[in-house]
C-alpha cells in the first residue's frame, strides 16, 4: 500500500532524507528506530505533506498513486494519518469543532454526507472510550494545557476518529506512563485490521512488546540502513547503534 523509492528531502537547503526506500503492505506493522536527528520525524512529515520540507527526488506511492503532488489535507483524506511527536497546542479551537471539521472533510472527500450532530457525538464518545480520554478533556481546546501523556492519547483518539489506512506514530510512547502506554497500545491494537498499516517510530522496545511489529528498520543518516524482524529491536536495545553506524560507514 505504501512504497517509498529513493526519497530525498531538504529543509532550508540541508539534505535530511538521502535516498530512502521503504515498502509496506496492507495489514503490516513496521517499526522505525534510529538515533536522534537521523530523520525519522522528517520522514513522517514528508509522508504527511508538510510543505517546509522540499522533496528533491524520489516518489511516495500510496494505494498505487504518487502522492507527492497532493496537499496535506488531500493525503489525510486519502487515508494517511500522522500522530505527532510533539502535538501542538491550538488555543481557542475546541477538540469537538476540530474533529467535526476533520471528520466531515473526509466524508465530503469521499462523497458522503456530513454526520449529524448526534451521530458525531456518538462517534466521539465511542472513540474516547478506546483511549480512555475523559469528556472534560475533549471539551477543551486542542492540546491546550494537556500533559505530555494526554497529548499523546489525544493523537490516538484523533486517529480512531479518522480511521486511516496508514498511520505513522511518531514516538507516541514517549511521555506515557506505564498504564497510559498500555491503554494507547491497546487502542492501536483494537483499530488494527488486515487493511490498515502502521509505521511505529520509537526508541524503546517496551512499546513493541505491546504493538508487535512485522518488520523493524533502522533509519540513520537519512536512509534505511538496516531492516529485520522484531528480533532486530531486541538486538538494538542490547547493543545500541554503534555497530550499525560502523557497518554503514565501512560500506
Amino acid at each position: 500500500m505504501l512504497e517509498i523509492n529513493n526519497l530525498r528531502a531538504n529543509i532550508n537547503g540541508k539534505e535530511i532524507l538521502k535516498g530512502l526506500n521503504l515498502k509496506i503492505k496492507e495489514g503490516e506493522v513496521h517499526a522505525i528506530m534510529g538515533p536522534n536527528g537521523s530523520g525519522k520525524s522528517t520522514l513522517s512529515s514528508v509522508i504527511a505533506g508538510r510543505e517546509i520540507f522540499e522533496v528533491t527526488a524520489g516518489e511516495i506511492i500510496f494505494h498505487n498513486k504518487n502522492i507527492l503532488n497532493l496537499t496535506a489535507e488531500e493525503r489525510a483524506n486519502e487515508g494517511i494519518f500522522l500522530a505527532f511527536q510533539y502535538p501542538i497546542e491550538i488555543p481557542g479551537v475546541s477538540i469537538t469543532n476540530f474533529m467535526r471539521a476533520a471528520v466531515n472533510a473526509k466524508r465530503l472527500y469521499n462523497k458522503q454526507e456530513a454526520l449529524s450532530a448526534s451521530d458525531f457525538l456518538k462517534l466521539m464518545k465511542e472513540k474516547q472510550k478506546l483511549v480512555e480520554l475523559t469528556t472534560s478533556l475533549v471539551n477543551r481546546s486542542v492540546n491546550e494545557g494537556f500533559s505530555g501523556g494526554e497529548k499523546k492519547k489525544n493523537e490516538i483518539f484523533q486517529m480512531a476518529m479518522l480511521e486511516p489506512s496508514l498511520a505513522v506514530l511518531d514516538e507516541t510512547d514517549s511521555g506515557l506512563d506505564i498504564d497510559a502506554l498500555r491503554i494507547v497500545a491497546n487502542g492501536v491494537n483494537k483499530l488494527k485490521n488486515p487493511n490498515n498499516s502502521y509505521i511505529v517510530i520509537t526508541h524503546y522496545q517496551r512499546l513493541l512488546d505491546f504493538i508487535v511489529p512485522d518488520f523493524v528498520h533502522v533509519l540513520y543518516d537519512g536512509q534505511i540502513v538496516k531492516s529485520g524482524t522484531k528480533e532486530l529491536a531486541l538486538e538494538l536495545e542490547e547493543k545500541g547503534y554503534d555497530w550499525i553506524k560502523d557497518e554503514y560507514h565501512n560500506k
Partner: protein, 410 residues
C-alpha cells in the same frame, strides 16, 4: 486643506438646524480658524494621514425623517432606540423607562479639557456642525438586560454628520448600550462622532461600538469616559468595516476602585485603514484596567494601535494591563503598534505588550494533516484568535451578530 477653508467648503442646507446658537458657533469658528488638521508629525497621528479626507466637499442636508426601523434591526432586542440619520436625530424610542432620553438642546461642555488631546479640532468641529444629539440617562439602580441602541445611518452622498451623545449612568445602574454605524455602500461620507460618558459610583456599563461602515466611508469616533468610584466599564470597539476608521477612546478612572475593561477588534481588508488610539488615566487608587485589542489584517490594509496607560501619583494599588496582538495575513498589510506605559505611583502592577505575527504555520499543518482544507484551517485559527475578544461580549444577540459579520468578511 486648512480648517477654515474646510468649514467654508461645507454646504449647509438648513442653517436653523444646528444645535448650537449663532453666537457660540461664531466663537467656535474663531477657535477653529487657529487650528489645523493633525499631521503625521503629531505624535498621536504618526501613521494616519487625514488630508485627503478633508479635501473633499461635504454637505449637511435638511432633515429626512423617512425611516423604517425594521429595515435595520429588530426593535424587540433593545430597551430603546436612538436613531441618527445623516446626523439628525430622527427617532427616540424608549421601551424601558429606566432610560431617559432627550434631544440635546445645547452643547454640554462638561468634558472639555478633561483630556489634553491632539483631537481637539474634531471635538470643536463636532460642536460646530452638530445638528443632532441626545442626552441619555440610565436611572439610579436600574438593571436593564437589553441594550439601548444608538444607530447612525448614513444614506446621502457626501454627508458630514456630527452625532453627539451625552450619557450619564447613575449610581448602581447596570446597563448596556450598543452603538452601530451603518453606511449605504455607494456613498462617500464623513462621520465625526463624539460621546461623553459619565459612570457614577457602583454602576456598570457595557458599551459596544459596532462599526460596519462602507468601502467609502470615513469615521472619526471620539469617546471620553469618566468613571467614578467602584464602577465598572466593559467597552468594545469592533471595527468590522469601513475605509477609514479612527477611534479616540479616553477613559479617566476618577474614583477609588473603578474598573475598566477595554476590548478592541479590527479586521481590515483591501485598502481599509483602522486606527485605534486609547488612553486610560488611573487618577485614583485601587483601580483596575485591562485592555485587549486584536487585529487580523488582510490584503493591503493597514492598522494602527497606540495605547497609553497613565498612572498618576496618587493611584496606588493600580492594576493595569494592556495587550495588542496582530495577525498579518499578507506581505502588503501593515500594522503599527505602540503600547505605552507611564507610571508616577510606586505601588502598582502594570504590564503591556504587543505582538505581530503570521498565522502559525505549525498549527495550520496540524489541522490540515487531519484533512481540513487550508482555507478552513486558516478560518479556524483566525476565529480562535478573534474569539479571545468576542467571547467577552456577554449579550448573546450582539455576540452572534458580531460573529456572523466577521465570518462573512473573512
Amino acid at each position: 486643506m486648512n480648517v477654515e477653508n474646510f468649514i467654508g467648503s461645507v454646504k449647509v442646507t438648513d442653517n436653523a438646524a444646528f444645535i448650537e446658537n449663532t453666537e457660540k458657533r461664531k466663537a467656535l469658528h474663531e477657535s477653529l480658524k487657529l487650528k489645523s488638521f493633525p499631521k503625521v508629525k503629531d505624535e498621536e497621528w504618526r501613521f494616519t494621514k487625514v488630508d485627503s479626507i478633508f479635501d473633499k466637499a461635504y454637505m449637511i442636508p435638511s432633515i429626512d425623517k423617512d425611516f423604517t426601523i425594521e429595515k435595520y434591526i429588530n426593535a424587540k432586542d433593545y430597551a430603546g432606540v436612538v436613531c441618527y440619520k445623516n446626523g439628525f436625530v430622527i427617532k427616540i424610542e424608549v421601551t424601558d423607562l429606566n432610560f431617559i432620553i432627550e434631544p440635546l438642546s445645547k452643547i454640554d461642555n462638561s468634558f472639555d479639557n478633561i483630556f489634553k488631546t491632539q483631537e481637539q479640532v474634531f471635538v470643536e468641529l463636532n460642536n460646530y456642525f452638530a445638528v443632532g444629539g441626545v442626552n441619555i440617562v440610565a436611572k439610579k439602580n436600574a438593571i436593564i438586560s437589553k441594550p439601548l441602541l444608538i444607530l447612525y445611518i448614513i444614506d446621502k452622498d457626501n454627508v458630514i454628520s456630527s452625532p453627539r451623545n451625552v450619557i450619564n449612568i447613575e449610581g448602581g445602574a447596570n446597563v448596556s448600550i450598543e452603538e452601530k454605524i451603518l453606511c449605504n455602500s455607494k456613498i462617500e461620507s464623513l462621520t465625526n462622532a463624539l460621546s461623553y460618558i459619565n459612570i457614577e459610583p457602583n454602576a456598570t456599563l457595557n458599551y459596544y461600538k459596532i462599526q460596519t461602515g462602507s468601502d467609502i466611508c470615513n469615521l472619526f469616533d471620539t469617546t471620553y469616559i469618566k468613571q467614578q468610584a467602584d464602577c465598572n466599564l466593559n467597552i468594545f470597539t469592533l471595527s468590522l468595516k469601513g475605509r477609514f476608521l479612527r477611534n479616540n477612546l479616553r477613559i479617566k478612572l476618577d474614583g477609588n476602585g473603578a474598573n475598566a475593561n477595554m476590548y478592541g477588534l479590527y479586521i481590515p481588508k483591501q485598502n481599509e485603514h483602522v486606527d485605534n488610539l486609547t488612553y486610560i488615566e488611573h487618577a485614583m487608587p485601587n483601580c483596575d484596567s485591562n485592555e485587549l485589542y486584536k487585529g487580523v489584517l488582510n490584503d493591503s490594509s493597514s492598522a494602527v494601535f497606540s495605547g497609553k496607560i497613565m498612572v498618576c501619583k496618587d493611584a496606588q494599588k493600580t492594576k493595569a494591563f494592556q495587550n495588542n496582538k496582530n495577525i498579518v495575513l499578507t506581505n502588503t498589510a501593515k500594522i503599527n503598534t505602540k503600547p505605552h506605559l507611564e507610571i508616577y505611583a510606586d505601588d502598582v502592577k502594570c504590564s503591556h505588550g504587543a505582538t505581530v505575527g503570521q498565522l502559525d504555520e505549525e498549527a495550520l499543518f496540524y489541522l490540515r494533516s487531519r484533512g481540513i482544507a487550508k482555507d478552513d484551517a486558516k478560518q479556524l485559527l483566525i476565529n480562535s484568535f478573534i474569539d479571545e475578544v468576542v467571547n467577552n461580549i456577554s449579550y448573546e444577540p450582539i455576540k452572534d451578530y458580531v460573529k456572523e459579520s466577521i465570518s462573512q468578511k473573512i
